[in-house]
């Protein structure tokens, strides 16, 4: 191959090839960077913080050019508006020159409509996208309906439309339904959107207020500490001055100053505690006021049943001579017993058994025959018919 032709070809491709040297200016000199795209693909399903987490797997393979992550570690698959996957280089190759058909289904696609993939299953991806889109307009709430029945009907209609869109059934008719709804409820939609925004705004403001309050408290604490430090410093200096100027006994002076310092410190801590407590009370009160629903605190009623467990007949002592349970009782680490096992409970059960049915007289005669003799007439036939 002559150098000339190579140069001509590379000129056609819009790239320059310089053998032996690589400069950052050339975009496609490394095999890994297969995209010359300047488009930052965005969109996809955003999570709460507004980020899109992209789905990524070691088994990724571009269905169009069949290159996979082994060949190209930087492979990035994007999803078309018809929900088919393609790698970035294929998108570049096919759609740089304008709209072109999808190599899988033939739908005309544009480069800008490709979005990153969030879910492993593209059906889920599609469903989530459609639901998000619909939720913007179908945003009525229970309060907007006179009765439950009409609300249910509305939900049913939304679900029908969603199902049709996901499974591509009667698309034109469904679109017409959406358009009709939009036209009918334009004011409602607008209102509900405003309400939603107001709610989000309120949440944000509340968060902001809490943040400010936290900051304020931290500031308060810092200032208190500073004051305390200053006060301590002042005391120390006063003591030294006192020692310098007075003729009294030094040890006594020091002790006196210490006692005073201690007293003041205690007072300071108490005051600080009180302040913090008051603030907490205030916050609690505010929170309680914010949550409108007050759940009444029902007193707990323990389970009662209709059985007599011989409580009056068996009194449990705190300890017994019982060689059978010696090893378990001596085992302080609980290696020999399961969690929650108490030998007292085993004793109690035994004591119950000891008095259970002591006063029963044995049955006499053949009066009642609780065992039906027919029950043996082939238990295995009964088994087969179960």
């Amino acid at each position: 191959m002559s150098t000339n032709r190579t140069n001509a070809a590379s000129w056609l491709r819009g790239t320059t090839i310089r053998k032996g040297t690589t400069t950052p200016a050339t975009r496609s000199h490394t095999p890994q960077t297969q995209t010359s795209s300047s488009i930052v693909f965005s969109g996809g399903v955003k999570d709460g913080s507004g980020r899109t987490s992209e789905y990524f797997s070691m088994d990724d393979q571009c269905p169009v050019c069949k290159s996979d992550r082994y060949l190209n570690p930087k492979l990035r698959l994007l999803v078309s508006s018809c929900y088919h996957k393609m790698c970035e280089s294929c998108i570049d190759r096919l759609y740089t020159l304008g709209p072109a058909p999808c190599p899988v289904c033939g739908k005309t696609l544009k480069k800008m409509t490709f979005i990153p993939q969030t879910f492993e299953d593209l059906v889920v991806e599609k469903e989530v996208a459609i639901r998000r889109k619909l939720a913007k307009e179908f945003n009525k709430r229970r309060e907007d309906f006179p009765d439950l029945r009409s609300y249910d009907d509305y939900l049913q209609e939304v679900e029908d439309i969603t199902f049709n869109l996901i499974n591509e059934i009667d698309i034109p008719e469904t679109q017409a339904r959406i358009a009709a709804y939009r036209k009918e409820n334009a004011a409602f939609i607008e209102l509900n959107q405003q309400r939603e925004e107001a709610y989000v705004q309120a949440l944000k403001e509340q968060e902001e207020a809490e943040r400010r309050e936290r900051q304020l408290r931290a500031e308060e604490i810092r200032r208190a500490e500073e004051e305390e430090r200053d006060a301590r410093e002042g005391e120390r200096r006063a003591l030294i001055d006192n020692l310098e100027n007075s003729d009294a006994d030094a040890a006594r002076l020091v002790a006196q100053a210490r006692a005073e310092a201690l007293k003041r410190a205690a007072a300071r801590t108490a005051a600080a505690h009180q302040a913090v407590f008051a603030q907490q009370q205030e916050t609690m009160r505010l929170r309680a006021a914010q949550s409108a629903v007050v759940v009444p605190d029902q007193p707990h009623v323990p389970l009662l049943d209709g059985y007599y467990a011989y409580e009056d007949l068996c009194g449990l002592r705190s300890s017994y001579f019982d060689p059978a349970s010696d090893a378990v009782r001596r085992d302080k680490e609980g290696i020999m017993r399961a969690g929650g096992y108490r030998v007292e409970e085993a004793w109690e059960r035994a004591l119950r058994y000891a008095v259970a049915g002591l006063d029963i007289t044995p049955p006499l005669g053949e009066v009642s025959m609780p065992l039906p003799i027919t029950s043996r007439v082939d238990a295995d036939v009964a088994m087969a018919s179960v």
């Binding site: 009662l304 119950r352 058994y353 000891a354 006063d359 049955p363 025959m369 003799i373 238990a379």
Partner: protein, 343 residues
């Protein structure tokens, strides 16, 4: 539900039902001596008639010289296998609870089935294995069968459902040995409590009597507390009487006399020669329908298969009819539209 506080049992105990009287053991597995005898006799008669019938339908006249087991012989055979359970438990070092439960299961099973249908050597294995599970001492089937010669997993598992079904799935058993433990602990509260060495000796002797009592029918007749008291009385009559009087249990003191008599009379091991003779008879008279591969067995299988086929056909027909009439799940419920107002 009663709203009385649980701290006043004396007031409410009359209205409440005592725990033992609410147990399945009391309600379904408690008989009089005569009832037991009649049940066993009737069961034996019915099964002999059924098996004779099977012999006859196989080849007429073949049952005339067969010696069928009677109820006593059946009982003796079961008793031998109760001893086998004890030996097996000693071998596996199973706790008392498992042993007692396994034995109870075996006894209860043969109140509803006959040894001529199901040989106790198999039922014993299943009953004991079931007992390990129901008393929370599970052991793997492999290690269970590996330690018993000439046994494989299917010997144990094949009968498991049958045994469970015969027990009516009532697996909880109130045992006398636990009641003995309780009485023995409570004796230490009495002013006449003997010193510790003496106490230990009494307990061990009474425990021996409890083990003997498992060979008898007492657990099917008396509550466990009375059996335990009787065993204690066999070991040390004065202490047992003191304790019973401290609980005002004069009924129990009367009952234990007959328990003591039964234990001393029936608590002996059956002689091996007699049982071997019974087992030899059993080989001839066992139900041919239960012998895998025999003509009667195959005939029975064919009959069951036919019945099952009929049942399947009937079910398919019902489903088809329902589908033809419209909704296979039935008609829409009317008048329920306003029930779901729970938004």
């Amino acid at each position: 539900m009663q709203q009385q506080p649980p701290t006043s049992p004396d007031v409410s105990s009359a209205a409440k039902s005592p725990l033992f009287q609410s147990s399945t053991q009391y309600r379904n597995w408690r008989f009089s001596v005569e009832q037991l005898k009649a049940t066993r006799a009737a069961l034996n008669q019915a099964s002999v008639a059924a098996i004779r019938n099977t012999f006859e339908s196989d080849s007429p006249g073949s049952s005339s010289d067969v010696h069928f087991l009677d109820a006593n012989e059946e009982h003796l055979l079961v008793k031998l296998y109760i001893i086998k359970i004890s030996q097996l438990c000693g071998h596996f070092r199973f706790p008392e609870e498992v042993e007692a439960t396994g034995i109870t299961y075996l006894k209860r099973f043969y109140l509803k089935n006959t040894v001529m249908d199901w040989h106790p050597k198999n039922v014993m294995l299943t009953a004991l294995y079931l007992a390990t599970k129901t008393t929370n001492h599970p052991i793997s089937l492999e290690s269970y069968t590996a330690n018993i010669p000439r046994t494989n997993a299917s010997d144990v598992l094949d009968l498991e459902f049958l045994v469970a079904q015969s027990l009516a799935f009532e697996f909880a058993v109130w045992h006398a040995h636990r009641a003995l433990w309780g009485i023995w602990l409570d004796i230490q509260d009495l002013p006449q409590a003997p010193p510790h060495e003496e106490l230990q000796r009494i307990h061990d002797t009474a425990m021996q009597h409890i083990r003997t009592s498992r060979l008898t029918d007492v657990e099917l007749i008396y509550p466990p507390s009375q059996i335990a008291l009787a065993c204690l009385s066999l070991a040390h009559p004065e202490i047992a009487a003191f304790w019973a009087r401290s609980k005002n249990a004069d009924t129990a003191l009367e009952a234990i006399e007959s328990i003591k008599r039964t234990i001393t009379r029936d608590g002996d091991t059956p002689s091996v020669d007699v049982v071997r003779e019974i087992d030899r008879h059993l080989k001839i008279c066992k139900n041919p329908e239960k012998v895998v591969g025999s003509k009667a067995y195959l005939a029975k299988r064919a009959r069951e298969e036919k019945e099952a086929e009929l049942k399947r056909k009937k079910k398919a027909e019902n489903v088809r009819k329902a589908t033809e009439q419209g909704n296979p799940f039935g008609e829409v419920l009317v008048g329920q539209a306003n029930l779901d107002d729970d938004d």
